[in-house]
Symmetry: C2
Subunit: 521 residues, 2 copies
């Protein structure tokens, strides 16, 4: 094996450990009995330690040193033979800087360099703490008991600040966390994009409120038996292209999608017998993530060429299927008669127009995952602001409930009735996922930009959707977005696929088009 092959074999072991941890993590959130929590924390902590040791092994450093270095070495003085100099870097195979080998070396180098800055003991501490904190959070959420979670949040913020300090940053400790999820992005940049989005979004949401038009409230809160929600949601996920021979759908507290590896991707959701919203669009959302995971090249599993580009791009895939496709009229022209059949009698008095209006209701509300496509981004901006304040120390963890209410009131003109519907609603902080939230709105932006381009490239996609066919769109996404893996950074991929840099305009155009028709504005 040459240096490149050795590097790949080593890195694949790291990713294999990660994929083993993915089984343990999925099980923790679906089927693990409650008393198993402490032992699971030990298992996850140990896997994280092994993974960190593998990724930060000096062997990777040596192998990277033998391959093309970050900057080209100075030429040797004529006649000199460098006995003590490192061996001449091996040339990479053809393909230039976007060739598979160059991409893999570049991204492994990036992961390695980030990881060597964080001590193994800190990694293990974070894994153990967050594994236990997730159980505390689940109970605190159920009991509306923020004080029991507060010391855990405090510990997690302290650990994440330690991590940010170890990684290093220019402007804000938050940048160091953000970089893990959205390589290259910064808090300053996101603040700017979000500001542009907000500038157009606020008047749109205002106009909707002023229109006075409202959908019928009861349509999506009728009795929808959970077992039939499961059947209908699973059928829809299969229809848009999620392969159930290579995946599953189970229930959990906070839905997620976990790609275990080639041929194995786990979707999760939660059902409420009187909230059709939560289950169905939740499934489409996770199925969108799953279709991305299933669309990665299995031949490249365990290497950057076979890995997702960024969380923003990942989220673009879930939002695209959940919203752009799954809340549209063409989709429901196919599925609405089937929905009526699945829940006999439940929707007899409801027309397709009634249903679509209900499915696209815009209303200020407390729960992020139940928010509509327009106000959702306000929930993200709130969290993005609070996380930055937690990281700089401007906000103390124990002050989170008050700060949450205050900011929520300022932006959405309401006060959450309790913490369960406020700062305890999301699992992310208990998982140590600070820096993660902004990728959701980045996903909305990329989704709008991608499907705008797909419609240009593929012609009348709505005609496909009306007859329940989604292969052309899925195939386009497979080719343009999934198969490239990490060959391009998110912004670069967007530019390459759509011919334009990321912009808030496609999302705003899409939202305006939809809501101006529904609300007569």
């Amino acid at each position: 094996m040459d240096s490149y092959q050795k590097l790949i074999a080593h890195f694949k072991e790291y990713r294999l450990l990660e994929s083993i941890g993915a089984i343990a993590g999925w099980d923790q959130h679906t089927y693990m009995p409650p008393k198993g929590a402490n032992h699971r924390a030990a298992q996850m902590g140990y896997l994280a330690k092994l993974g960190h040791e593998k990724l930060t092994s000096p062997r990777i450093g040596e192998l990277l040193g033998e391959l093309a270095p970050p900057s080209p070495p100075a030429p040797l003085p004529q006649g000199e033979r460098g006995g003590s100099l490192p061996p001449h870097p091996q040339p990479l195979s053809p393909g230039g800087e976007k060739g598979d080998e160059a991409v893999n070396v570049r991204e492994i180098r990036r992961a390695y360099e980030r990881a060597v800055k964080v001590p193994g003991t800190l990694v293990e501490e974070i894994a153990k703490t967050t594994s236990q904190a997730q159980n505390v959070w689940a109970e605190a959420r159920k009991q509306n008991d923020f004080p029991s979670f507060a010391p855990w949040l405090e510990k997690i913020v302290a650990l994440k600040r330690e991590e940010a300090a170890a990684v290093g940053y220019k402007d804000s400790p938050y940048d160091a966390l953000l970089d893990e999820y959205e390589p290259g992005a910064t808090a300053a940049e996101i603040t700017r994009v979000f500001a542009e989005l907000r500038a157009d979004l606020v008047p749109l949401v205002g106009a909707i409120a002023e229109s006075g038009k409202r959908p019928r409230k009861d349509i999506l809160t009728r009795e929808f038996a959970v077992d039939r929600q499961h059947i209908f949601g699973q059928a829809a996920a299969a229809a848009i292209g999620f392969d159930f021979q290579a995946g599953r759908l189970d229930t959990t507290v906070h839905p997620f999608c976990s790609g275990i590896g080639p041929g194995d991707c786990r979707l999760t959701t939660r059902y409420h017998p009187r909230e059709f919203n939560q289950g169905f669009w939740g499934i489409l959302h996770e199925a969108g993530h799953g279709i991305y995971e299933q669309g990665l090249d299995p031949e490249h599993f365990g290497t950057p060429c076979g890995s997702f580009a960024s969380l923003g791009i990942h989220e673009s895939q879930s939002r695209l299927w959940e919203n752009q496709v799954g809340r549209g009229r063409p989709f429901w022209e196919h599925f609405f008669p089937r929905l009526k059949q699945t829940f006999p009698g439940t929707l007899d008095d409801v027309t397709l127009d009634d249903f679509l209006f209900a499915a696209n209701k815009v209303e200020k509300s407390f729960i992020r995952v139940e928010a509509d496509e327009a106000t959702y981004n306000m929930h993200i901006i709130l969290r993005f602001d609070m996380e930055q304040a937690l990281m700089t120390g401007d906000l103390k963890p124990s002050d989170v409930p008050g700060a949450w209410s205050e900011r929520f009131k300022a932006m959405l003109d309401q006060t959450p009735p309790d913490d369960t519907q406020g700062c305890l609603q999301d699992i992310h902080w208990s998982m140590g996922g600070l820096g993660y939230f902004p990728t959701y709105t980045l996903g909305n932006l990329y989704a709008a930009q991608f499907i705008q381009q797909a419609r240009k490239d593929l012609g009348d996609l709505d005609a496909d959707f009306r007859i329940g066919r989604f292969e052309r769109l899925k195939g386009w996404l497979n080719e343009k977005v999934h198969r490239p893996g990490q060959r391009y950074r998110a912004g670069e991929l967007c530019q390459r696929v759509t011919g334009s840099a990321l912009s808030h305009k496609p999302l705003i155009a899409y939202l305006r088009g939809k809501y101006e028709a529904l609300y007569n504005i």
Copy 2:
């Protein structure tokens, strides 16, 4: 840390890797999607490799060398200070040879010495092969297609012979495999015990056949809705003492129990809507295993003092609850009215006597896991003989179906109609578990001997069972059998708990007592 503490810390990492593999293995047999099989094989293979590296690490050898050696070292010549001699072995803490430290060192030494004889490449090869072979077997069983499984069996037998050769043995390569499951047992010894059992069993089964008495056939093959079987079985498992806050019950193809670690034990079963037998007593059986796992000392998790003694002892716990308790009149005096309530109308015409007779029917049949308590042991003797022949090479894997039919005919006077009901019925060979089957009948023997003693120690246990109370028996087993962990070898534990060496007599006495009454012999 002193040498002992270092040894324990190292060994615990090995057991932590095993417990992570247990999650992956449980998932493989319960929820994994079919296309995930290849990647799972890679994951399991890698975990097996890491575990083997950990167990065979020279570091363990060094640490064992620093602790009490197998034989005491010769005293140093007077006046000499051994600069190059190994450090003086550290004394173990009080407790003598059954003290925790002595037991842990003894058993870790045993595991290490066995493991260092088997090359890591062979371990990995076995793990990968058997992971894939299990999927081939599941399909072959479904399709009655032995030829598709034959090359895998051939590969597995070859690998197990390689393993036996590496481990070493005196008389038969089979002994080397047996030792893994039942430390210290040999094929010759088991042959002798099984011969004694058979000598008493054959006339008993003969007398039953000649009695002409038969239970009503239809009682256990009526319509028992699967969801209600699940509810009833789960309630019974909870009643006998399995803690569902620290465990689960799921469905699979071939039922098993997997102890993930403290607070987390997974039972599995399979249901058939017209076979009450399979589901219910299968659950009691696995719950018996689970109660043993849950009864191990969590403080000693990851060390021999917190591990089960042998597979024979493990099986004794499942058989004890399944048969000795769960097929007895006192148990059903409590549960039979509840069974009738769970399946309203289904058993209106059935008396407790009818039901008990049906639950204790003795009949020659093809499927081991459905066999009664008497003929079951014949199924084991058949497999024990065949495995020995496969290991010595007297039987070729491709000849297994013919040899199976021939031996089955000779012992049970019937010929299986197909391989699905013959040599393809069990998962064990596809898992590489040759040497495992005899532990089932050893379990029957130990179970009979243990409960005979419990009845002596505790007085009228049947009075407990009649009112659905099982705590006293469970507590006795916890104290006498579970908590000792590996402090005693199986035979030694039996001697200690019951005052006698293993004997076939308690099992025969129990079977005679039951069947002579039922069959009027």
